[in-house]
């Protein structure tokens, strides 16, 4: 059996009275794209920071490439690339210098650092901005550069904490496109994101977390089919329809002004509901990860 990229068992992180990560276990194999989903405060960032060896674990076992994080942080950090949520590029330096200065922290010699920097500038479409100081870059370019910087040490594991948050659709699409290229090279990728549709398409496996715990784990399609069924039928929330659904014994959920009925046999159920309840409007769509996410983590406001 090969050593997994990440192995967590009963992993905990506590901040004073707050249990940020509450005994989670998971395994990420090499070459996998593994996603962390969950509302803010779910424990995603805390988990990623422990894996990146910048935040000590409170309890449990955590190994990266078979190395315990408490014992061999320097070796682990040499093998990973991190894109944190906050922009932490050097504002006074140019695009090129941001990359070459970072290379030194990995003890990459100057000639090699220069070669990799040029290569990454090309790969991330930053050639025109090579000598531009960071402050003059757009949000999307800064993100791409942060990603480029995380790859300067040719990491075996890339950790991305919300790599596309706050970007416009074009910039986001560009980041995902580059991440797909990275995945195609066989890099192990760990990411958290709030864009569920993108996570559904991009991740081999993912977990949905809330309150420091893992609520569900698996392949996106399997999670959706096992938790939601194939399709979601939506009708407006009016009392007559609710009465009818209760009479018919059909399970439903009310979300704002809509009623959701999930099913594996949408055609038959639609016919039945149209005949029995005669709703003013009714639509059928595929169940998505977002449906699962909202069902599991609730629809209330989260900080």
């Amino acid at each position: 059996m090969t050593t997994p990229a990440i192995l967590a068992e009963g992993l905990e992180k506590r901040f004073g009275d707050l249990m940020a990560v509450d005994g989670i276990s998971f395994v990420v194999e090499e070459g996998e794209v593994f996603g962390f989903l969950g509302p803010n405060g779910a424990g995603k960032t805390s988990t990623m920071r422990m894996i990146a060896c910048v935040s000590p674990t409170t309890a449990g076992r955590l190994e990266v490439f078979g190395m315990p994080v408490e014992e061999r942080p320097r070796e682990i950090k040499a093998l990973i690339g991190v894109v944190s949520q906050e922009n932490n590029l050097d504002p006074d330096l140019s695009v090129y210098e941001n990359l070459t200065v970072f290379a030194r922290f990995f003890e990459i010699d100057r000639a090699e650092a220069a070669r990799r920097a040029e290569e990454l500038i090309e790969f991330f479409g930053l050639a025109e901005k090579r000598d531009t100081v960071i402050e003059a870059l757009s949000g999307g370019m800064k993100r791409r550069l942060t990603l480029a910087r995380a790859l300067i040490n040719r990491p075996r594991l890339v950790i991305l904490d919300e790599p596309t948050t706050g970007l416009d659709p074009q910039a986001r699409a560009l980041i995902w496109e580059r991440l797909r290229a990275l995945r195609a090279r066989g890099s192990t990728i760990l990411l958290s994101t709030h864009y569920l549709e993108e996570a559904e398409r991009f991740c081999d496996r993912l977990v949905i977390m809330d309150g420091g715990r893992i609520l569900v784990e698996g392949r996106p399609a399997e999670i959706v089919s096992s938790r939601m069924g194939r399709a979601v039928i939506e009708t407006p929330d009016d009392p007559a329809v609710i009465d009818c659904l209760e009479r018919e014994g059909v399970a439903f959920e009310r979300f704002g002004d809509l009623v959701h009925v999930t099913t594996d046999t949408p055609d038959a159920l639609v016919q039945r509901l149209v005949a029995a309840c005669n709703p003013s409007r009714l639509s059928v769509r595929n169940a998505t990860l977002e449906d699962v996410f909202l069902r599991l983590t609730g629809r209330g406001f989260k900080e």
Binding site: V54, S55, E86, N88, F102, R104, F105, F106, N153
Partner: protein, 256 residues
């Protein structure tokens, strides 16, 4: 703690040095001009009304103090306001510790950089003092290693305050409660001997600037300094202790 410090410290230092090369015009000319104005205003302006101090012309008396204060300011401001901006606003430390660089190396690198600023300052200001005839050669050249030692100490002191401060504004407290009184009570603008005896003891017991000023004065005049060795040992021990304290308190703040 100590085992986490390797030569990778030089990369933290190197990063700061590179940024300095980009911004030196704004970050370095001011302290040089400060010193020049102090020398002109105090040494030659005020100096006209001051009798010589123990046979020393006032400009020559105050010149080494101006260097000592410059050493203090260059390193202290670098590791307080400078480090705080890197730590809090630019998140530079977060980026660094995601690499094989350890948090201890970041902290030591910052202190070394603070000391470097003190050395650069001294190297730039020394020729001016020599030109004005208020610092004698070759003994004044030893101001450079003195600046390194004093810079390490004030760099470490500054970083302790950075570890403590909740915001950039509260860094003003250590500045006006500690740095400013020290600037005037360390035998800088008037001899310590003119203070009441208890204050003299107090100055030598707890004010690093008193030791740096007295050593600097012994070098620029130059004059015999019977207590020079005591001052050097005092500074070395204090530097070591405060550096350890800086590492401890910064780790408590940054490792969460």
């Amino acid at each position: 703690m100590i085992e986490n410090i390797s030569p990778r410290v030089r990369h933290v230092w190197g990063r700061n040095f590179l940024v300095f090369l980009r911004t030196w015009k704004v970050s370095f000319l001011p302290p040089i001009f400060d010193s020049l104005f102090f020398l002109l205003a105090l040494g030659y302006g005020l100096g006209q009304f001051v009798q010589d101090i123990g046979g020393v012309e006032y400009a020559r008396f105050v010149a080494p103090a101006i260097v000592a204060i410059g050493v203090m300011n260059s390193s202290y401001y670098e590791t307080t306001f400078g480090s705080f901006v890197r730590m809090y606003y630019q998140k530079t430390f977060d980026a660094l510790i995601a690499t094989p660089v350890t948090i201890e190396e970041v902290i030591v690198g910052e202190i070394l950089w603070g000391a470097t600023k003190a050395v650069i300052y001294t190297v730039l200001v020394l020729p001016i003092l020599v030109l004005f005839g208020v610092a004698s050669l070759p003994s004044s050249l030893l101001l450079v290693p003195l600046a390194l030692l004093g810079g390490l100490l004030f760099g470490a002191i500054g970083l302790c305050f950075t570890a403590w401060t909740p915001s950039i504004d509260t860094l003003n407290y250590p500045t006006f409660l500690f740095i400013t009184p020290m600037m005037v009570l360390s035998g800088t603008f008037f001899p310590l001997e003119s203070l009441p005896l208890p204050l003299q003891y107090f100055a030598y017991a707890v004010l690093p600037l008193a030791h740096i000023t007295s050593l600097a004065r012994a070098l620029t005049l130059p004059t015999a300094a019977p207590l020079a060795l005591v001052s050097i040992v005092w500074l070395a021990v204090a530097t070591l202790l405060v550096m350890l304290l800086a590492i401890r308190t910064m780790k408590r703040r940054l490792v969460v």
